[in-house]
């Protein structure tokens, strides 16, 4: 159980400080009753819970697209450097210098970007409609690739199967597309106040899905739950200035 207790303590680092003590106490007290064979799955659930609390707590902080890119690039660089150092120390790997190796690395790079796009398509990604959100998504995907290389090098150094970097890369890409879906395509800030509208029974009569607002752009973002012939994509509906007062109230409430 000591290993599982350590897992819980590690996961608790993601929980906001004001909730951490109560969160850890709750999970630790329950771990006592969980059979040994189920303890790892139980702790993974705790990690998922901690992650959701972290996202709730850090949503405001990562609202700025520049700050998000900075955090992603720093994490990516850290994982890549850690992997490279581990591989160099453990196996004395040389830096790739030959033209063939550079070509191979570039091929793998574009392959990973394509895999990322396919994963996004499978996840029902919201595709960029303009240059700004397209560039933002592209940068995020490019920054995600060094994480794959970093984990791959770490795996080689530590003797872990090569499949693991791919699994981690899939998680990274899914997180990137999930973040993209939560942002306004125009100002790239997080959308707020999501409201479910309609129901599945209305498919043939009216759209149903989720409507969010973008306080900065004074606009509504409408995302259908199921793509229909008359409404397949998400769309941003800019509103005129007569709605400005409502949005300023929302902005005050958010701040």
């Amino acid at each position: 159980m000591r290993r599982h207790d350590a897992l819980l303590r590690m996961a608790s680092l993601a929980v906001p400080v004001r909730l951490r003590c109560e969160w850890l106490r709750t999970w630790q007290s329950e771990l006592f009753y969980v059979p040994q064979s189920e303890a790892t799955a139980f702790c993974l659930g705790a990690a998922k819970d901690a992650g959701s609390l972290w996202r709730e707590g850090s949503g405001g902080w990562l609202d700025s697209p520049y700050r998000y890119l900075a955090v992603l690039s720093a994490s990516s660089a850290a994982v890549y450097c850690a992997g490279l150092c581990a591989a160099k120390v453990a196996l004395s790997l040389p830096l790739c210098t030959s033209v063939q190796e550079v070509k191979l690395a570039l091929l793998l790079f574009f392959l990973l970007i394509s895999v990322g796009a396919i994963i996004g398509k499978g996840q029902g990604a919201v595709w960029p409609a303009g240059f700004r959100d397209g560039a933002f998504l592209g940068l995020k995907l490019v920054m995600g690739v060094p994480i794959f290389y970093g984990v791959l090098f770490l795996g080689i150094a530590l003797g872990i199967p090569v499949l693991h970097p791919m699994v981690i890369y899939v998680f990274v890409v899914r997180a990137i597309f999930a973040d993209q879906r939560r942002r306004c395509p125009r100002c790239l800030r997080y959308l707020g106040s999501p409201v479910a509208i309609g129901s599945a029974a209305e498919t043939f009569l009216h759209w149903y899905g989720t409507e969010s607002i973008c306080v900065r752009c004074c606009a509504l973002m409408e995302m259908p739950d199921v793509s229909c012939s008359y409404w397949a994509e998400h769309r941003l509906l800019p509103l005129d200035s007569s709605w400005a007062e409502v949005f300023s109230e929302q902005a005050e409430a958010r701040s």
Binding site: S29, E30, F32, Y33, A41, L44, G45, A46, D49
Partner: protein
């Protein structure tokens, strides 16, 4: 007029489990069959919405039984009303086991 609270199927199962006497997290997991990553966040949301209330048991009781203190959950009046309304929508949720069947 107050709108009835609309609960998801999972939340309804958790409320029903608490109503049938599963008063701490692990037994709720066992009865509902839901994973820990679903049950505990749901319990937190239900408590935030004042449908359930939690309370730590006295440390002296836990010490006497040589185990950590448990966090017990209890339905509030609002939670009971919400559960009654939700059981009409998900009638099969009523079939969740009684405590004796689980703790055997």
């Amino acid at each position: 007029m107050n709108d009835p609270v609309r609960l998801s199927h999972g939340s309804a199962m958790i409320l029903q489990a608490i109503a049938t006497g599963q008063i701490y997290g692990y037994t709720i997991m066992e009865v509902t069959g839901l994973p820990s990553g679903t049950v505990y966040p749901a319990l937190r949301r239900l408590e935030r919405d004042e449908l359930i209330r939690s309370q730590w048991e006295k440390q002296s009781i836990a010490d006497s039984e040589l185990r950590p203190a448990r966090k017990y959950y209890k339905l509030t009046r609002g939670g009971r009303t919400a559960l009654d309304a939700t059981l009409e929508r998900y009638p099969l949720v009523r079939k969740l086991s009684a405590p004796s069947e689980v703790l055997k």
